[in-house]
């Protein structure tokens, strides 16, 4: 079931003092399904935050439609089912941690009663901020603010949570804790829309990702499929490869990396088969063939480079 759906979503920004227009998003069409962690990737200025802001009706699209829970995003009624942690959020610094959660909890539609107080205590405990609950947040560190922001986004028990750089400024232990919290939320059937620069993190927890560049959606799919589609093969031989044979292998794949008993190719299964045929015809024993998937980071860099060249 699709929780988020967009059709040809476009956003143009025009400067107040010039006629020049900047396309922040171009005909963006995608869906996010219930219960998945969806990662949005892209270099700075790719349109990631613009997309989140359009989905939350903070910014309005120039063209196209966006629906959340099957409702046009222009309405604000569905927002009680959504949590949001903006990038570089600023909470009123005259409030304590407890007051911040109380304030945003009430704005999210929670009734001010003992259950809200109990929830606030629970989330502060989960985030390790219990002992700071009565401290003004202007004394909080960046990591503490980020954890408080995450608690704020989850407080109303939303079905869909938008997180824009949730681990920004958080130490590795804190990041691990946040990953565990997000995985736990997925197991409860919550949907998470994650925008993060930390690709390794996205790879670890996201089910699906979309890669944006200059406002265009250039890649979208399951993380495993995307990283597997860029296959790298390594062939290990028993016998050493002669110079003549190396030249013949290079005729098949000019970019192949060839060692004493190892061949590295990135051109897919057909080329691997051709090389194996060549090795066998030259009576070279094969110890094994391994397939290495590229990391999400490698995939990201490759597709962005290709898109920039195109």
């Amino acid at each position: 079931m699709a929780l988020i759906e967009t059709q040809n979503l476009s956003k143009e920004y025009s400067s107040r003092f010039s006629k020049q227009k900047v396309n922040a998003l171009n005909d963006f069409t995608f869906t996010v399904n219930k219960g998945e962690i969806f990662g949005l990737l892209g270099p700075n200025g790719a349109g990631k935050t613009t997309l989140i802001k359009i989905l939350l009706a903070i910014t309005f699209p120039t063209r196209g439609t966006a629906k959340i829970f099957g409702t046009e995003v222009k309405s604000h009624k569905w927002k009680n089912k959504v949590g949001y942690l903006p990038e570089n959020h600023r909470f009123p610094n005259y409030l304590t941690g407890e007051q911040v959660l109380d304030y945003y909890g009430r704005l999210s539609g929670l009734k001010s009663d003992t259950s809200l107080k109990k929830k606030i205590d629970e989330y502060l405990e989960t985030m390790g901020l219990s002992q700071w609950n009565k401290t003004k947040i202007k004394k909080y560190s960046k990591g503490m603010m980020q954890k408080l922001g995450l608690a704020q986004s989850m407080l109303s028990d939303p079905e869909l949570i938008f997180l824009d750089e949730p681990t920004d400024g958080v130490d590795p232990i804190g990041r691990k804790e946040i990953r565990d919290i997000l995985t736990n939320l997925r197991s409860k059937g919550k949907t998470i829309f994650l925008n993060s620069h930390l690709l390794s993190e996205v790879e670890m927890i996201c089910d699906r990702v979309a890669i944006l560049n200059k406002g265009d959606l250039i890649k979208e799919g399951n993380v495993d499929d995307l990283t597997r589609s860029e296959n790298i093969f390594e062939i290990h031989t028993i016998d050493p490869i002669s110079l003549d044979l190396k030249q013949q292998i290079l005729n098949i794949d000019g970019n192949a990396g060839i060692g004493e008993t190892e061949i590295h190719t990135e051109l897919g299964v057909q080329i691997v088969n051709n090389i194996i045929d060549l090795l066998r015809s030259n009576k070279i024993g094969i110890k094994g063939v391994s397939q290495r998937s590229s990391t999400l980071e490698e995939l990201f860099i490759n597709v962005i480079k290709q898109d920039n060249v195109a």
């Binding site: 920004y13 959504v82 903006p86 990038e87 600023r90 009123p92 005259y94 409030l95 945003y104 704005l107």
Partner: protein, 277 residues
């Protein structure tokens, strides 16, 4: 709405300028207490017509304090809108299940309510001191509380509009002060003074046009003063009797000022609802 209003109060109390604001009010109240206890003043009160003397003191206080109250209150609340619009704050507010109209109106009402309570404290204290000392409990003087609050509410609509469009606290303060202390006083003396020298009908039309569309903070203060001094108030236009040195306020000054605020606030809500953040 109540949550945002409550938070606006917290924001106000967290600002150091508000502490100064209340210290200033407390000093004014203590000064008043000191003045009415002076032997000379006690003598005057016992000799003169108590009612007339109290009215004079109240009028004098209003004339002096009105400008200072507006000055301090606008300076201390002008940052509410620009600070709400800061990146990372406004995104989060709009992402909540509240309409943009509710967000803006709550912020506006929070500031106006804060001003109202400040006036209850300041003018209420002055009233109690004067009444207790003179024995004349001039309840009509309490009209100044809603009227000064109304003046603030009207002028604050300009702060909201400029805060929204420019996100600048300084510009909204400067525009407000220019209107309150320069343009509006000039426009209000157009008939009694300026038109004596300027007889060109086109120029007079421009003066009249701006007089009627812009707020009239000075005239609203005059309505409040007329109410507690039992003076006549015209409906349509103010009038000046130069020979008797008498000025008559008009209800239309208040009505047109309220209309100005309503139009400006409505446009601000429309602008805020359509704006990308």
């Amino acid at each position: 709405m109540l949550t945002i209003i409550k938070n606006t109060f917290r924001e106000a109390l967290a600002k150091k300028i508000f502490i100064g604001y209340y210290i200033f009010y407390a000093i004014v109240v203590l000064f008043m207490l000191f003045i009415v206890n002076l032997d000379a003043v006690e003598g005057v009160i016992s000799l003169a017509d108590v009612k007339q003397t109290v009215h004079m003191v109240e009028k004098g206080f209003l004339d002096l304090a009105w400008a200072l109250i507006l000055f301090f209150s606008l300076i201390s609340t002008a940052s509410f809108i620009p600070s709400m619009l800061e990146k990372g704050t406004i995104d989060l507010l709009i992402s909540k299940p509240i309409s943009r109209m509710t967000i803006l109106l709550s912020k506006y009402l929070g500031a106006v309510l804060f001003m109202f309570l400040s006036m209850v404290f300041l003018l209420g204290s002055i009233w109690i001191i004067l009444s207790a000392k003179s024995g004349y409990w001039d309840v009509q003087f309490l009209w100044t509380i809603p009227f000064i609050t109304l003046t603030f509410a009207i002028m604050y609509s300009i702060v909201v509009f400029i805060g929204l469009t420019t996100q600048s606290t300084i510009i909204s303060i400067l525009v407000n002060f220019f209107l309150i202390f320069v343009l509006c006083p000039i426009l209000s003396i157009r008939e009694g003074m300026i038109f004596t020298f300027v007889q060109n009908t086109a120029v007079q039309f421009v003066f009249n046009f701006f007089y009627w569309i812009l707020p009239k903070p000075g005239e609203i203060k005059d309505i409040a003063a007329s109410l507690f001094m039992d003076k006549k108030i015209n409906f349509w236009a103010t009038s000046i009797n130069l020979e008797a040195a008498e000025f008559t306020a008009s209800w239309m000054s208040l009505i047109t000022s309220l209309l100005f605020a309503a139009v400006l606030l409505s446009y601000s809500i429309y602008y805020f609802s359509k704006k990308d953040y």
